[in-house]
Symmetry: C2
Subunit: 223 residues, 2 copies
């Protein structure tokens, strides 16, 4: 039995959940609150990070969201997320890194810090300057998605791929936290509406974090 | 002709150079100083980061060090760096992420900030508290390498792999900047001496950054 150690608003956990959903894999969720720093998580993953995919039957543990996605891609032929030749695959992986690293650092991480960590742990109000900076960066990243969507069928090329999953995972967390303003980003908005209407995405959109409600449009498929 | 846009003390550039050396690939170096933020680099890589591998003949561009390494692995059978079954490959990729992300964030990045960026750009002395923290974190990571070396032939398993390259690339930059104290880490030291004596590693060890000399033991194969 696969168990996925994850947190509902962790964009890397979301990316893995979407991929497992696309590949139609059964798994159990184990919630890990990042602020708990549970010993059990550190025992599973020396880096102390989520997501971690744990096979309770065989005792196998796979950590790091990119390693997990590559593993699932190698193990399960269904719904390939890294198809094409090596150059196409490199382009998909470049985009995954762009969203996992740059988008996360510029947008998702500051939103999580200001709107989740400060509220739940420090009982402090968010820093409005940091929020403005994150939303400004989000516009820059959405501009790039607009451009990709203008030139390709999907972000990584002609096929739905891990690039779409990585981008949509980050955006969905930023959107939950009120950090996405779609004005002026019709192409990105249309692309995201298509991705979030997929069955693999639905379970994420119905989850709520206690005390932090998402905006009204968040779970709406045409929102 | 392959051109690698890189900086001599960028650990991610080093990882790619070691892999290209192991695979015996010819390429030309293009130096990118991270502080220059050249327009040409941003045109090659929207993330504005090095390394970038550019094929001047075909016009192909590959960005992100992990995407580059996966691409080289798929294109060149010689000197495989990700061999084994999917679980073994996942373990190698987990370790690559651990060194690329955790070791870099805890050790290499603060050392580069304090000893290179502050000196070359701000003409400021390093913050000794930040340096102490980085060196303390380095001990923790070296402890983990000691443990890996005690239980396996190489860091990722029974074969030399990308995990060894990622770890050695980070360590070599930290060592250049005087951030590695090998005392109490005999296993890690022995493993590193073997890796750094490989022909793929030699070109890195002879390069110097103007105004920042490495410690005496840095380029010594038994150092």
């Amino acid at each position: 039995m696969w168990q996925l150690h994850q947190f509902p608003l962790c964009p890397f956990s979301r990316k893995v959940r979407i991929v497992m959903g696309e590949k139609n894999l059964a798994y159990e969720l184990v919630r890990e609150n990042p602020w708990d720093k549970r010993d059990e998580l550190w025992q599973l993953n020396h880096a102390g990070r989520i997501p971690v995919l744990h096979d309770t039957t065989r005792g196998t543990t796979i950590a790091d969201s990119r390693a997990i996605c590559e593993f699932l891609e190698e193990m399960v032929d269904r719904a390939p997320m890294l198809s094409g030749n090596s150059a196409t695959r490199a382009e998909i992986r470049r985009l995954v890194a762009l969203f996992d690293e740059n988008f996360f650092q510029d947008v998702t991480a500051p939103l999580l810090e200001e709107k989740l960590a400060k509220r739940l742990m420090l009982r402090q109000p968010p820093d409005s300057r940091a929020l403005r900076e994150a939303m400004k960066s989000a516009h820059g990243h959405l501009d790039y998605i607009d451009w990709l969507v203008d030139t390709r069928a999907w972000l990584g090329g002609s096929m739905l791929s891990l690039a779409d999953m990585a981008a949509a995972a980050q955006i969905s967390v930023a959107d939950y936290l009120g950090g996405i303003d779609w004005a002026g980003h019709e192409q990105a908005r249309t692309w995201y509406a298509v991705v979030k209407s997929r069955p693999s995405f639905r379970p994420l959109l119905t989850e709520k974090i206690e005390g932090i409600p998402p905006p009204a449009h968040y779970a709406m498929v045409d929102g």
